[in-house]
């Protein structure tokens, strides 16, 4: 018995060997097939990266490399910021010094953030003793002027707006070991929340990808106050399970430096503060500062470390001393014979907290495929939190949507324990799938069964990532059918379409909240819930003395929540007479009269007004289809007020050429630091697509493409669009499929022969 297997093995050995070889061959083919599948998965990952690059709306992502020394030949940059705060107004002067440590002529480019409401009006280029003042020009013209100067070897500076809060600064023809200084100035207003005033100086453009574990809250904060938005939200629905959809679409992203290489872009910062009232506490939220008090109402601050790397935003907070902060502020300026006023008014608040009205809350939750991954749990957690905040006297309903939509209850129901339990179960059972058809859900949410009901406040809370295509239709729906409802948008995920959601909330007279990760759900939703529970003054309207010849922003005026002031910027022929503000406070009429001629004169009010008007025109542009008209108006306002906008840039050109003919000009982007608390590998990953490297865009008119060549090019960075993957798997699949079938056929034949002989 023992010998039998031996014998049979000997007998059938060769045949078995054939079967074996065939099987091996077949397995090889099969493995090839599987490898193709694996390669496909890899391809998908790389493609995701490329898609993102490709979809960036303005300019593009600039890439990074982890190789040490990567940025060594890049120009260096030093920034000095001086901010003067007088009352609610702040004027900042930011000086950036571009230093070329190399032996060639370079063009330096730097992407930097500014506050979203910053009105940038001045740029100066300082070369040695000479100061060249930047001129405001239409964007294309400014670029032409710059490119021409660059080609002629002249020093030139160009300041462009990429997004309302992201700007780029380029300087051409910095000679070997030379430095060029660019100074920009902007105007903004301090933020006020109750008696707390604050001012933020953003220092770093946050990379688009928020690492889940490493996010320091104050850094991730960038989204709510930013315009990271997109006019074409053409996001791809990622397959479920894609852990980190890398899909912020619209930042111009500078190369980011690996912290291992040390920090660059040192920043020095000084603030002089004149509050206009006796000062109490003055604090810097994220940096150590030296504070020197000047009199009762003033202070001077500078960074304790003198110079810090630009890796986290600077925030200054100041509060009044025991005596309460003023409840009203009025500032004015006359420009070209026209008067501009800025009105700030705190509605009564404090101890006598008006009793909040019961609410009718309509929650709309997006469970479309684009919410798959981390977004859906965040949206669910946010909604569950909001449900908990409902009081029994409130009523509510939930609408979920993907390419279909569904109402939980046919009509809003009382927020009693049973109904809340039903709602919780419904929310917990949601999963992300399908397309995004937001309009029907929005219509259903705005359908008000009792439009005349003044005893309840009606709030629509919309939780979505905003991956939608029909913004205009949605804006129209909101503007037309908002009625008494207020729309609160909650942006979910690392890269929601905040531009859309912010504008939608403005049109819906509500507010926008961003939840970037699960850890933020609680605090952000609590802030929102606090707001939702305490609408302080509603239906605010302003009557100006010369109504017909007054242009005031924002329009309409949003409801006021606890701690928020009314802020109005207006232009009129002559600031005289009384402005009357009316609204509803705690069920009673509320009225305040502001004598306009009493205002204190401050420069910069006109610019602030213009900045607000541009923001309003940008929103209008989306709603009306008349892009050209809106663009023309934006251009006019920006040119008139000397402001950088989407349509205008500041350009400065030195008249004397400095770069000798024949010397090539290399273009470099300034690397920026990763925001503090972020991990380089987590943000960019080991498997990030190969760095896109390229050379200076040559001035030749046909040079649409810049390719990398030579050793210097390997380290040069420039702006450009990555070319997407444009092959499908079809040919490979078909080939492998045919091979595999052939192998199967051969194997079958062999096997038959073997069995037949047997």
């Amino acid at each position: 018995m023992r010998s039998l297997p031996h014998r049979s093995a000997q007998d059938t050995g060769p045949r078995d060997a054939i079967v074996f070889i065939a099987a091996l061959f077949a397995t090889l083919v099969a493995v090839t097939g599987l490898l193709t599948v694996a390669a496909r998965a890899d391809g998908a990952a790389a493609r995701n990266g490329l898609v993102t690059l490709n979809d960036v709306q303005s300019g593009t992502l600039l890439l990074k490399s982890k190789e040490p020394g990567k940025y060594v030949p890049a120009p260096l940059l030093a920034t000095d910021a001086k901010i003067e705060v007088t009352g609610p107004m702040a004027r900042a002067r930011v000086t950036q010094r571009f230093i070329n440590p190399g032996d060639g002529w370079v063009e330096g480019k730097y992407v930097f953030p500014l506050p979203e409401d910053a009105a940038v009006d001045t740029m100066k280029m300082i070369i040695g003793e000479r100061i060249i003042e930047g001129q405001i020009k239409e964007k294309e013209e400014a670029r032409r002027i710059y490119e021409k100067a660059k080609a002629e070897g002249k020093k030139a500076g160009l300041l462009e707006q990429q997004r309302p809060n992201v700007f780029t600064n380029a300087v051409a023809n910095i000679g070997p070991h030379e430095s060029v200084t660019i100074q920009i100035e902007y105007q903004q207003t301090a933020h006020r929340d109750g008696d707390r005033f604050s001012l933020r100086f953003p220092m770093v453009v946050a990379p688009r990808y928020v690492p889940k574990e490493a996010a320091a809250p104050q850094v991730v904060d960038f989204a709510p106050g930013s315009g990271w938005g997109t006019t074409q939200p053409d996001r791809d629905d990622l397959p479920p399970g894609t852990a980190h959809p890398d899909n912020a679409k619209d930042l111009t992203q500078p190369p980011v430096l690996d912290p291992e290489e040390g920090k660059v872009n040192p920043v020095a910062l000084q603030v002089s503060l004149e509050a206009g009232f006796p000062l109490g506490k003055v604090t810097s939220s994220f940096h150590k500062v030296d504070i020197q008090r000047i009199g009762k109402e003033g202070a001077k601050l500078s960074l304790a470390e003198k110079v810090v790397p630009a890796d986290k935003d600077f925030e200054l907070v100041w509060e009044p001393a025991e005596t309460a902060a003023p409840t009203a502020g009025l500032f004015r300026e006359t420009v070209d014979g026209e008067d501009y006023v800025l009105v700030m008014l705190m509605p009564p608040s404090g101890a006598a907290q008006p009793k909040a009205k019961p609410r009718e809350a309509i929650f709309v939750i997006d469970n479309s495929g684009s919410m798959a991954g981390a977004s859906m749990p965040q949206a669910k957690a946010g909604l569950l939190f909001a449900l908990d905040k409902l009081k029994p006297e409130d009523s509510f309903n939930i609408i979920r949507f993907d390419d279909t939509h569904e109402l939980l209850f046919p009509q809003p129901v009382r927020a009693d324990r049973e109904n809340i339990a039903v709602a919780r179960k419904f929310v917990n059972g949601l999963s992300a799938d399908g397309g995004t058809e937001m309009l029907p859900a929005l219509k259903a949410a705005l359908a008000d069964r009792t439009p005349g009901d003044a005893a309840h406040v009606r709030q629509v809370i919309f939780l979505t990532d905003g991956a939608i295509s029909n913004e205009k239709a949605l804006f129209e729906e909101i503007a037309r059918h908002r009625g008494r409802s207020r729309l609160f948008t909650v942006g979910i995920g690392t890269a929601p379409n905040s531009y859309f959601m912010r504008r939608a909330a403005e049109a819906g007279r509500g507010s926008f909240t961003h939840i970037g990760d699960l850890a933020q759900v609680k605090s952000r939703m609590a802030d929102l819930a606090n707001k939702l529970e305490h609408p302080l003054v509603t239906d605010v309207t302003a009557q100006w003395p010369d109504e017909a010849r007054t242009e005031s922003w924002p329009d309409p005026i949003p409801d006021l929540y606890k701690g928020e002031p009314v802020m109005l910027a207006a232009r009129m022929d002559k600031a005289q007479g009384d402005l009357t503000l009316t609204g509803e406070l705690d069920g009673k009429a509320w009225q305040v009269r502001v004598p306009l001629d009493a205002g204190e004169t401050r420069s910069g009010i006109g610019k602030l007004w213009a900045r607000r008007k541009i923001a309003a025109l940008e929103a209008e542009r989306l709603m009306s289809r008349d892009y050209e008209k809106a663009d023309a108006e934006i251009l006019n306002v920006a040119l008139e007020h000397h402001l950088v906008s989407r349509r205008t840039s500041l350009v400065a050109v030195d008249v004397t050429p400095t770069r000798p003919d024949g010397e090539p000009l290399e273009s470099r982007d300034m690397p920026v630091n990763l925001p503090e608390g972020w991990e380089f590998d987590k943000v960019f990953g080991e498997s990030a697509p190969a760095p896109v490297m390229h050379k200076a865009m040559r001035a030749a008119p046909t040079a649409m493409l810049a390719s990398a060549e030579g050793p210097i090019a390997d380290t040069a960075q420039d702006r450009g669009l990555a070319l997407p993957q444009t092959a499908s798997d079809a040919p490979g699949l078909i080939r492998n499929g045919l091979f595999t079938l052939l192998a199967a056929f051969l194997l079958m034949l062999l096997w038959r022969r073997v069995t037949r002989r047997g």
């Binding site: 083919v29 097939g33 997407p724 092959a727 194997l747 096997w751």
Partner: protein, 202 residues
């Protein structure tokens, strides 16, 4: 004992048979899936263009974008045609991998109004396989909702490495069609074939 050899002969296929059958079945399944999936990709590309055609007609009629199917994440934004080759393709609103399966996609960071640089990407093995036949001087007609009809003339082609080359969206006025290269390659690669066209002033 003497029967044993016979029984052993009869039993011999016992281990090869199931293994062979399973292996063969697996291979047939895998091969079938690969072939089927490959053909499906091709079929999808063709079928989608038919659906997109009618969505595009709707878009032109109403002046607003229409999706070809409700859950689509890309919608027709332009029609690209090459009269000499009798080619007409509907261009989708983005060049994501998902969109490219259905049609060429507009690289949405570039212009689409005919006033700047427009870039459109497509698969070399389906919609953009005709790129290899384009020659200098060929007319390309791009019709968009924003910019109407713009005629371009091919000025040249170029093979570049996507790992080292990017497109400057502000590089002037023109049209760039992008596809993978070489056309008959089976694996994905980083080479791209570009057709560069200038606007024809009419």
């Amino acid at each position: 004992m003497t029967e044993m050899p016979i029984s052993s002969v009869r039993k011999r296929p016992d281990w090869t048979a199931p293994a062979g059958a399973v292996l063969t079945a697996l291979l047939i399944a895998l091969g079938g899936w690969q072939l089927g999936h490959g053909l499906y990709i091709k079929a999808k590309a063709q079928l989608a263009q038919m659906l997109l055609d009618s969505a595009w007609e709707d878009s032109l009629r109403t002046g607003t974008p229409h999706k070809a199917w409700a859950w689509a994440d890309a919608w027709p934004v332009a029609q690209l045609s090459v009269p000499r080759l009798e080619i007409s393709e509907i261009v989708l609103s983005n060049a994501s991998g998902e969109a490219l399966a259905f049609g060429p996609g507009h690289m949405s960071a570039t212009d689409l109004s005919g006033k700047g640089l427009s870039a459109i990407a497509g698969h070399r093995d389906t919609h953009f396989s005709f790129l290899k036949e384009l020659r200098s001087g060929d007319r390309i007609v791009l019709t968009t909702l924003e910019g109407g009809r713009t005629v371009y003339s091919v000025t040249g082609t170029q093979v570049v490495d996507a790992a080292t080359t990017t497109l400057d969206p502000a590089a002037g006025n023109g049209l760039v069609l992008v596809t993978c290269y070489p056309f008959d390659a089976v694996a994905r690669g980083s080479l791209r074939y570009l057709v560069i066209a200038k606007q024809v002033i009419s």
